[in-house]
Subunit: 322 residues, 2 copies
């Protein structure tokens, strides 16, 4: 076990909710059909000029408040993004730290692993805390509306903006990560890509390269293997896991995951219907909703499973302390 | 101490060496004066079409060979870059893993913290190994020639392309990180910036925003505080540290750092004169040169100090095992 405690979480949805009906009107699609296929009724688009670092800082500030921890106590900030943050260099995390009023009291770095970035950061933060460097703040911030255009409706109709944060610190007895299985398989066909304009020399948009059905099949396969690996390693049966959180790129994939794992909806948390597909912020938003709205009690196990472009995949099994 | 062993290192300079004289001829500057001011005689520019993931994979392959470790033994790959890698999403690290023939046997993620990224990754890799996840491969890859143009000679005349890698694994007795002090201070004026084209909607270049003298003063101050913090924490005097490696943005800053620390040149390794300013790959290239060309022996201490845009700063003190 990696001893670590989730001290607090928070999530932020920047800007007003935008309905699927509004977007469908713009691109000439049938709203009822799109809602049925995507499971998404609303998402949030940050107003023009919104800075990723400000949205991330708001989420991290909320997680610090929930934790009862002062920002200056933080020893590390990991800022996760799939769209490169405010600037390519320096780290957007550097600006998040400054927005929290910090001036060198912790380090700060950016991390990217597509939609798996939150779990990657969670693992790195847990290992930092377990080796004496904590508390650590992790925050996923995605302003994915910056990467879409109505001319390419498939990403435009599902992607949204969000940030989700967690503060991890010293564990109480029998608390922490019971098991972790993370992997990246770049030999699979590229499913989602956002090219780097510093390389291509032109503006780029998020592009979905494979049909939904194929994406779901590959994602589901990777995710189920990761979950099985973690559960087998920890000697825990899935039926004994109280809470299962999954990456939620759309409603049908969420349904497919929970169906394949035979997890009833009341043991999970659905966020995609109101927040849309929010990349690496999806799992963090689900974790925040779980801890704020459900009767999570000491001893409960939380299984977080995810999959992302790459294909990145993995699972983390966490046991709640007293 | 964080128990960890540097199992092997490697560095790669993609493409032919380009002399300062050649570049000065293009921009109408006096080569002798530029060489004197920058301390840079040559740097390497990767040929058009070169992929960051291929250069990174070559460096990591070299480090694995030096370590006598098979790629499939890796449990994690951290790919560091200041220019966003091959693609913004998925992680370039994902492609590095694939280039090494891996298909899900380890996880892989991108990390950015300007020129401090290598030390950030070194710390995260050490903590991963110390908590049971290893070996870990870290690789800094910078194709900074992609971010410059002759129209802005200051970055154009110093930045170069390079990759440097290290494989970290299980420590031998009394081996590992004796101390670490890393910090980011985003309240200082922004010195170097590469805007994110996904945000600005147009191509961007690396820009130096403050005068060299001011950059050197701020960098030196941050770096010396970090070194002092690590040495004091570990109870080691600087005169007893056998090897001192520094980030090398240019020859004069290298000279200023070694001068301020009173470290004679034979206890350090100069790389900037032939590789140029290679961002996060600078410290890794120095580490590789040190371990390949100098009489480093068991018990030796290596102090790595760095500074980068943000301002990011820090130091790591490592003790070589038997």
């Amino acid at each position: 076990m990696i001893p670590v405690r989730i001290l607090g979480t928070a999530s932020v949805l920047p800007g007003p909710a935008v309905t699927t009906a509004e977007l469908c009107a713009r691109v000439g699609r049938d709203a009822a059909e799109v809602e049925r296929k995507t499971g998404i009724r609303t998402r949030h688009f940050a107003p023009p000029g919104t800075k990723a670092s400000d949205v991330a800082a708001a989420a991290l500030r909320g997680a610090l408040e929930a934790a009862g921890v002062e920002a200056k106590a933080l020893r590390r900030i990991l800022c996760v993004t799939s769209m490169g943050g405010d600037v390519t260099t320096p780290a957007t995390a550097n600006r998040v730290a400054a927005a929290l009023g910090l001036a060198g009291s912790c380090d700060a770095m950016d991390l990217g692993n597509a939609c798996m970035g939150f779990l990657s950061a969670f693992d790195l933060a847990a290992r930092s805390v377990a080796t004496g460097l904590g508390p650590v703040g992790i925050v996923s911030v995605e302003l994915l509306s910056r990467t879409t255009t109505p001319e390419d409706p498939r990403p435009y109709l599902v992607l949204g903006d969000a940030a989700a944060a967690a503060v991890l610190g010293t564990a109480r007895p029998a608390e922490g990560v019971l098991g972790v299985a993370l992997g990246n398989d770049g030999t699979l066909p590229t499913d989602v890509v956002l090219e780097n304009p510093h390389v291509t020399g032109k503006p780029e948009r998020m592009r979905f390269l494979t049909p939904s059905r194929e994406m779901t099949r590959v994602a589901l396969d990777a995710l189920l293997r990761a979950a099985r690996s973690v559960l087998d390693g920890a000697g825990v049966a899935l039926r004994d896991v109280e809470w299962v959180l999954t990456h939620q790129p759309n409603g049908s994939m969420l349904g497919a995951i929970l169906g394949a794992m035979d997890v009833p909806p009341e043991r999970s948390v659905r966020v995609v219907d109101t927040v849309g597909s929010v990349g690496s912020a999806s799992l963090g938003t689900g974790l925040d909703r779980l801890l704020r709205t459900r009767p999570v009690k000491p001893g409960d196990r939380i299984l977080m499973v995810g999959v992302g472009a790459g294909v990145a995949h993995g699972a983390v099994l966490y046991r709640v302390g007293g």
